[in-house]
Subunit: 121 residues, 2 copies
Amino acid sequence: MKESGRKQGAASPCAACKLLRRRCAQDCVFAPYFPADEPQKFANVHKVFGASNVNKMLQELPVHQRGDAVSSIVYEANARVRDPVYGCVGAISSLQQQIDALQTQLALTQAEVVHLRQFIK
Amino acid sequence: MKESGRKQGAASPCAACKLLRRRCAQDCVFAPYFPADEPQKFANVHKVFGASNVNKMLQELPVHQRGDAVSSIVYEANARVRDPVYGCVGAISSLQQQIDALQTQLALTQAEVVHLRQFIK
């Protein structure tokens, strides 16, 4: 999941530093995950969480967990931009409803199995 | 879901204004949802999203949708504090796995119903 946001030695800043109009340092915490050619990926994250908060969140994690953290942060940010009221909590509600429906259907089907077995014995 | 963060005419600020050390205005956007006696509710929201972003998000919504938006924002913030890598996306993955397992179990049980019916006809 790790992406190269900035070529080694190249002067072009990552998408985060470009949006924030700042120099993209060699050790930029965003550069590996926000490549210059995907500006919208960082724009939504910045709009929803703010660059400063995401910077802090990433700094508090070991490097090997940052890729997964960025993926989940990007997912949440995109969901919030699509649905400003429920964000990805809307997806959670919808999945829970699907689980309820499946559990009901499974219980009915299991009851039918029990019922049918009575005729076979 | 609407809560009174600040008594009418009372001087005590809501949990958001208290944390931000600012005067809680009569039309404070946070006051109805972040009562003074629940400081942690706003603290996590501020840590994850930032007060300024949440202010903007709420201002962009009609008043009748703000309560639901605050609930989902609080849910996401708490999930991110509990699980800094996956946040509430961890819950989504887990629910999707449950759905996969239920669908498999349902398909097997439905196949068993078809099988048993052959013996009855």
